[in-house]
Symmetry: C2
């Protein structure tokens, strides 16, 4: 006997270098998934790129019946209007992404923001389950942020969560954004790599600096601790201002695990005086948080 078609949504996370896409059923099980390189002409072709990715997923899952499409993108996103307001990396401004995708499919399409969607997924399926006041902090080449407060992921018209550009040291290095001493130029993977190269004349990845720190290399340790201290200050400022009590650390730098998290917890605890101490935990969903969040958004909308 043939099974009746299982309803799925297509969840597509359009990033600067890769597009991660999956079919996700009502219980958030990933039926099938794929990763493709982001084409250079994504700005012009986003509707076609997303719909052809969805079609190739559906070809792999003949028993699936498509109920909707969720797309998440970086930058500044107008979720209600379905518009990518600005992405420096992907080169668009005021791009009507939802409508472009909707032209290629005959199901509802929802547009979201990659990091806020990632937080939604972590809160529903991952490391923030059962928590109402959460900072989601993906650490990589840059530093992103998203806030859940009183149980709601905050958008503020797309402007919320720019933790990477909170000024930590007003006399610090100039950030590409134009401010000085942003968290991103002090605590990101790139910042660790730059500081290590400046101190030693050698190039090493942030992961390698983490390994050398663990192995007892004093110069690597100093560079690593400076990044941890910047992250600690950013977390404490966020806790003080917003009252979050759980910090979910994601992104490439979080792959370092306890080499990062143990000193980060100690740094934050040492800075706090009267504030509620946050739990600092690794993200659970890895680089699939964005696409799972896209699935949450579209299932919620259906």
């Amino acid at each position: 006997m043939r099974q009746s078609p299982a309803a799925v949504v297509a969840a597509v996370d359009v990033g600067g270098t890769r597009i991660k896409a999956s079919l996700v059923d009502r219980s958030y099980t990933v039926v099938t998934q794929t990763t493709v390189a982001t084409p250079a002409n994504i700005r012009e072709d986003i509707g076609q790129v997303v719909t052809s990715t969805v079609r190739s997923l559906l070809a792999d899952a003949p028993a699936a019946s498509l109920a909707g499409v969720g797309v998440v993108v970086p930058g500044l996103v107008d979720e209600a209007g379905g518009i990518g307001r600005l992405s420096v990396n992907l080169g668009w401004r005021d791009l009507p992404i939802r409508d472009a995708v909707a032209q290629g499919v005959d199901v509802p399409v929802v547009l979201g923001h990659d990091v806020r969607a990632g937080l939604l997924a972590e809160s529903r399926l991952g490391a923030a389950r059962g928590h109402a006041n959460v900072l989601f902090m993906p650490l990589g080449t840059g530093i992103a942020g998203a806030l859940m407060l009183d149980g709601v992921v905050i958008a503020a018209d797309g402007w919320a969560g720019e933790l990477g550009h909170v000024v930590i040291d007003p006399d610090g290095p100039v950030c590409p954004c134009g401010q000085r001493g942003c968290l991103e130029v002090l605590g990101s993977a790139s910042a660790v790599e730059r500081a290590y190269a400046a101190a030693t004349g050698q190039s090493a990845s942030a992961e390698e600096v983490a390994h050398r720190t663990e192995a007892g290399d004093p110069v690597a340790g100093e560079v690593w601790n400076a990044a941890v201290a910047a992250l600690g200050r950013g977390i404490v400022a966020t806790v003080t201002l917003t009252g979050v009590d759980r910090v979910v650390v994601g992104g490439g730098l979080a792959q370092s695990g306890e080499v990062l998290l143990a000193p980060l917890r100690a740094d934050v605890m040492a800075r706090l005086t009267f504030q509620r101490p946050p739990q600092i935990v690794p993200a659970a969903l890895g680089d699939r948080a964005g696409s799972l969040g896209a699935a949450c958004l579209v299932w919620d909308a259906l």
Copy 2:
């Protein structure tokens, strides 16, 4: 012909030195109001103090019919539980304020937080009307804060909004909270007074320092500008992290008006790079924001 009784709520703002109370009708018109000194034994007698204040208001308004009581207090407040979790100024910890007041009245009682209630009132009746992403920043002896994000006043279990204790200068003076360089020790009225006394050996109120700044006194100007710069940094950090686009400045220091607001706007604009510029405006409801907010809370609950 005698009028039928008009429904009112009693709105009571219990502060460190004064209790401000009013009867407020459904259209937020203040029917009558009073201010009394906060008694020393407020912790033991809060139920009796509030109910006797409400009775004296009702004696002044014989045509009014009491529908509910809203009480707002400072510190850490568990609004759902009706409990004052902690107030250093008023000397309580885990005080069941709502139940204490309810014993003396036969109408529903609602407990709220003074600053968050003030923001609710400013958003409904005052300087934040029509805005969904707002920082309310009362500046006085201390610096308080409350956030409205995506149209909701954020509580985070009572921990949200401690803007006065965001670290602005990690090498700054020690704050009573134990951190160094909190906004409160750099940008409050007390901070202005301390800095002016340190620079001149003279004591002058923050208001007087503002007057001398306006009159061109260079030392006063330097002290004033340092406080403005600290406030500017606090506002920019809040804008960056939360996406607020309206800052409502209240409290005693806001009485200085444009002597404060004009340089503060210029300072913030000079610091912003990519962020959405906030409007910085004076509070509209003055020291009645808290009690009007208490009225909003209880009318909403009825």
